[in-house]
């Protein structure tokens, strides 16, 4: 559950002006901070280094902190393309540095408070209780905190629309190809009709062939997707310097693909064959 606003002690993230390192841990009793891997790499900082942080770009009123650790920032798709040069401080240290002179200690604001419940299923009820008991505070289950029209739901809809367009284009091509392939086998079908095979029997055979071809194509597509998954992720993770996963072929995705591809392929074969099978055997076999 996420509450906002309130004043509590929590680790906080803030962009600061990082000044050059001044000493090593053995000599310092400076408070601990964590820095992001990207910041450590760009500034050549290591664990144990004492750095000075200031809220002012000029470096005025800088305070010393000891780097207690380097962390990999939680991948945030909303910040794609932005290198997270972040420092994590304990909230009292942060407030000490950012509190305006006319604000007494303890009267500062924080933007949100994350609450871990004993039973996560109570999130909705807990949020309702907080909203009823604490006017001025907005509590939301974490799942709803981003809103119903979050950017990734929109992107999901966009990708779905692109997928539908691709499927439509592929279906049209597939129909054209199957019409040509079926036409190529016109004489064979004609002979089969002439030796006595009923239309239904030939259609079943064509359907089975279509299923086998579509199934093989779907499996090939999945193997290709699985092989390219890592390649795509590695490229984009390198490109954006993030641990974000861009492509993931899940069981559900694979199943959806097969459920679309196989019936579509088989149907295209049957539809393309149907017009051919309505003709007489002699006409089909005639050269």
């Amino acid at each position: 559950v996420r509450l906002a606003p309130a004043a509590v002690l929590l680790p906080a993230i803030l962009a600061f002006c990082v000044l050059p390192p001044v000493a090593w841990a053995q000599e310092s009793t400076a408070p601990d901070v964590l820095i992001s891997r990207q910041l450590a790499e760009s500034e050549g900082l290591t664990v144990g280094t004492v750095i000075r942080l200031a809220t002012d770009a000029s470096g005025a009123h800088a305070r010393e902190f000891r780097i207690a650790g380097i962390y990999e920032p939680t991948p945030d798709p909303a910040r794609l393309g932005q290198v997270p040069r972040s420092v994590r401080l304990h909230l009292p240290d942060l407030l000490e540095m950012t509190r305006p002179v006319d604000v007494p200690a303890g009267a500062e604001y924080v933007s949100s408070v994350n609450v871990a419940l004993t039973n996560p299923a109570d999130a909705q009820q807990f949020a309702s209780d907080v909203n009823a008991r604490l006017p001025g505070v907005l509590a939301l289950p974490a799942g709803e905190a981003t809103g119903s029209a979050g950017p990734f739901r929109v992107l999901e809809r966009f990708h779905l629309a692109i997928a539908i367009i691709t499927i439509v284009a592929a279906t049209v091509f597939l129909l054209a190809l199957t019409i040509m392939l079926v036409d190529e086998r016109r004489e064979t079908v004609g002979v089969l009709r002439l030796i006595g095979l009923p239309v239904r029997r030939i259609l079943t055979q064509i359907l089975l062939e279509g299923l086998i071809v579509a199934g093989t194509g779907a499996v090939f597509g999945l193997v290709l997707a699985a092989l390219s998954e890592q390649l795509i992720n590695q490229f984009f993770q390198w490109r954006y310097d993030t641990a974000l996963i861009f492509v993931r072929v899940t069981k559900d995705v694979a199943l959806t693909c097969v459920m679309i591809a196989v019936p579509l392929g088989a149907s295209a074969t049957v539809v393309a064959s149907w017009a051919l099978l309505r003709r007489g055997g002699l006409r089909l076999a005639r050269r």
Partner: protein
């Protein structure tokens, strides 16, 4: 009959497969066209949005305007900037969250923009606020505001009407007294998102709404130069090293490196996939089609058609399928782009006037070039088949088979 006419007859002889081929190219071409519109759409749209206001330099505390950081000593900074010889005028923009009370409904959450002009130039003094008046007039007094269409309709008011505003300029927990403000006009705010409402007025009106508790900070200072935006931005940076001054092009450049990257990447990936898909499928279509007509091609060669001529026939067939499909792909792609744009504009925080898919002549040129390349590459293999076709052996096989 020339090669194009011959290819046309070959296609119309089998209308179903030709039509499906053309439709397939149209669908793939439409997707390709959309991806090309998407690749620079946001950049073009954002540049247009920034240029439309007439302000050519933006001064902010963060790397990008709207980063949330505020400029301290805003009035003194704006006055100092206005004194620069290359500056025509400067506009201080301060934004605050506000609630608009309603008699029988929940309050509306809005964004309140307060502006103040600083200029030593008579032309600069008349610089307009960063919104466009649709009805009524601009807000001038400390108790006047302009509101957007949505807010006017939600509150059931218009020019001359009044609304009660509670603005919070410093922190969200402030409990400020309600301020009654008069609506001078209805305005369009260029960076307003599709889900938010905006109120605009003078800095004095915002100060009044915030109970005077506004401080001397600004979110942004908009500057109009006397013509040299780059030089003006450099002068401001030299004069005020603690602030970030960027021309509209520089702002777009920074956005291009951060926020817009995703769409450029997805556009590149989908363009590559789409073109490969089109090449592969048209190659297969033409190859199967040529394989079915090998006897026919051999007969034409035997009748005196040159090797080059039959190759041209195949190339023209490819050009006709891709060309017709490509032509159809333009209106289809434009219609699809409108739908996809509507989907993407559902993202929170996207200005209503910003578009993801924007037409540019260079996108059309690239589209045509890619389709021409597709037609040629797709025809290469079938052209090779017909050019190497052994005439006598093919005719013999045809007769025996």
């Amino acid at each position: 009959m020339n090669a194009l006419g011959f290819a046309w007859r070959s296609l119309v002889r089998q209308p179903a497969r030709a039509a499906l081929g053309v439709l397939g190219v149209a669908a793939v071409g439409a997707l390709l066209f959309d991806m090309l519109l998407l690749s620079r759409g946001l950049i073009v749209s954002m540049q247009d949005l920034l240029d439309r206001g007439g302000w050519d330099v933006r001064v902010s505390a963060g790397d990008l305007p709207g980063s949330g950081l505020r400029l301290p000593h805003a009035i003194a900074t704006a006055e100092s900037i206005a004194q620069l010889p290359s500056v025509q005028g400067a506009l201080i923009v301060r934004t605050a969250s506000a609630q608009v009370d309603r008699a029988s409904a929940t309050p509306l959450h809005v964004s309140f923009q307060g502006v103040a002009t600083r200029s030593t130039d008579p032309a600069g003094s008349r610089l307009r606020a960063p919104w466009t008046i649709l009805r009524g007039r601009d807000a001038e007094g400390p108790n006047e505001i302009v509101v957007d269409e949505r807010l006017a309709s939600q509150t059931g008011t218009g020019p001359g009407g009044e609304i009660i505003v509670r603005a919070t300029c410093v922190a969200d927990l402030e409990a400020l007294p309600a301020t009654r403000l008069t609506i001078a006009g209805i305005a369009e705010f260029p960076f307003q998102t599709t889900s938010d409402s905006t109120v605009g007025g003078t800095l004095a009106a915002l100060a009044a709404a915030c109970g005077g508790n506004i401080g001397d900070e600004a979110d942004l200072i908009l500057v109009t130069s006397r013509g040299d935006a780059d030089g003006t931005a450099a002068s401001i940076r030299a004069e005020h090293p603690d602030v970030r001054a960027a021309t509209n092009s520089e702002v777009v450049g920074r956005l291009q490196q951060t926020g817009f990257t995703y769409f450029q990447q997805i556009s590149s990936v989908l363009t590559t996939v789409t073109v490969s898909f089109a090449v592969l499928l048209i190659t297969v279509l033409l190859t199967v089609s040529v394989n079915q007509r090998l006897g026919e091609v051999a007969a034409l060669r035997a009748l005196g058609f040159s090797r080059m001529r039959v190759v041209k026939d195949v190339l023209c067939e490819s050009a006709l399928i891709v060309g017709t499909g490509g032509l159809l792909s333009l209106p289809l792609g434009w219609a699809m782009a409108s739908g996809l744009d509507r989907i993407l504009k559902g993202m929170p925080g996207i200005p209503a006037a910003l578009h993801f898919f924007v037409f540019e002549s260079r996108a059309l040129v690239v589209h045509v070039a890619l389709l021409v390349a597709t037609a040629v590459i797709a025809a290469l293999y079938p052209m090779r088949i017909v050019s190497r076709l052994p005439i006598a052996a093919t005719l013999r096989d045809e007769v025996i088979g």
